[in-house]
């Protein structure tokens, strides 16, 4: 499935804007190409590796929860120019769900580009009013006794979730654990499932 194509008028606007900026010596096509290529590499992989390490290393877990920005920098990721990263700790009694009700704020440096559904009007409107109903659309059932806390990411502070490590993963390596985690698990719409890694 491909994203919706832009109108012809907007394609023209983009090229005129880039053409004007290039003609004025403000930027070059090569600079845009370099950033576009970086975009194509963006993924939730760093966030997945951070969670996998937190599951296996209690000292890193403590650092991750205390200061997500500094913990990301341990993975060679610079958050310079980006808002701070906060990490929300799930427990058997508490599940977190992240939304940006105002737009699409998302910790791109560790999770890649915000998924289409994260930017959708329905997700933004409903996550704060009917989180269990939204989670059910992913087939995610949180027990009635578990509290759900919905956290709004903003332009000034971005969030990701540290899920509960699933049972049946004792002795797994960081790589194996990271394979359980994608954008859905790190935003909180899905729980990490052991079957996911076995199927992969």
């Amino acid at each position: 499935m491909a994203a919706r194509e832009p109108s012809a008028a907007h394609v023209v606007l983009l090229e005129k804007l880039i053409g004007a900026l290039t003609a004025k010596g403000i930027l070059t096509e090569a600079e845009i190409a370099a950033k576009k290529s970086a975009t194509e590499k963006a993924s939730p992989e760093t966030g997945a590796r951070m969670v996998a390490r937190a599951w296996t290393n209690p000292e890193f877990r403590a650092r991750l929860l205390a200061d997500g920005t500094a913990a990301a920098e341990e993975f060679g990721i610079s958050l310079a120019g980006n808002p701070p990263l906060g990490v929300l700790e799930d427990t058997p009694a508490l599940h977190h769900l992240v939304v940006c009700t105002l737009c699409s704020c998302y910790p791109r440096v560790v999770l890649g580009f915000p998924p289409h559904w994260y930017k959708s009007t329905a997700y933004r409107a409903r996550a704060v009013r009917d989180p269990r109903g939204v989670l059910a659309e992913w087939g995610t059932m949180i027990p009635a006794g578990t509290q759900i806390r919905v956290v709004d990411s903003t332009a000034d502070y971005r969030w990701m979730v540290l899920p509960v490590r699933p049972e049946g993963t004792e002795g797994w390596s960081e790589d194996q654990l990271a394979a359980l985690l994608g954008a859905e698990e790190l935003v909180g719409v899905a729980l990490p499932k052991v079957a996911r890694a076995q199927a992969a």
Binding site: L13, L14, E31, I32, A155
Partner: protein, 96 residues
């Protein structure tokens, strides 16, 4: 009495209009236009020619029919053009 101001159209949290709208879990790949708009924004931001808040204000200022009718990156593009014009970096004549 509820004296809270009426939310503007971009403030969607809890909006009952979407109460029965399903969230589509698909995540389609970005197309070439999307990636080019995104790259342009990163270049401009790194050069100090646009801030997230300036861009956000312009997106939120789009009339509702555009806010809900355009694709995500079409909105970004319109907002970036508006910021660059308001800063005097380009003119409307340059881009129209």
């Amino acid at each position: 009495m509820d004296t809270a101001p009426q939310p503007t159209h971009h403030d969607l949290g809890g909006n009952p209009k979407y109460r029965c709208t399903a969230v589509e879990p698909e995540n389609p790949a970005l197309n070439d236009f999307d990636k080019r708009v995104d790259a342009l924004r990163v270049v401009l931001r790194e050069k100090g020619l646009i801030t997230t808040d300036e861009q956000r204000l312009k997106i939120e200022s789009l009339p509702p029919e555009e806010y809900f009718g355009l694709s995500y990156y079409e909105k970004w593009l319109k907002a970036m053009a508006a910021v660059l014009v308001s800063r005097g970096i380009v003119s409307w004549e340059d881009v129209s």
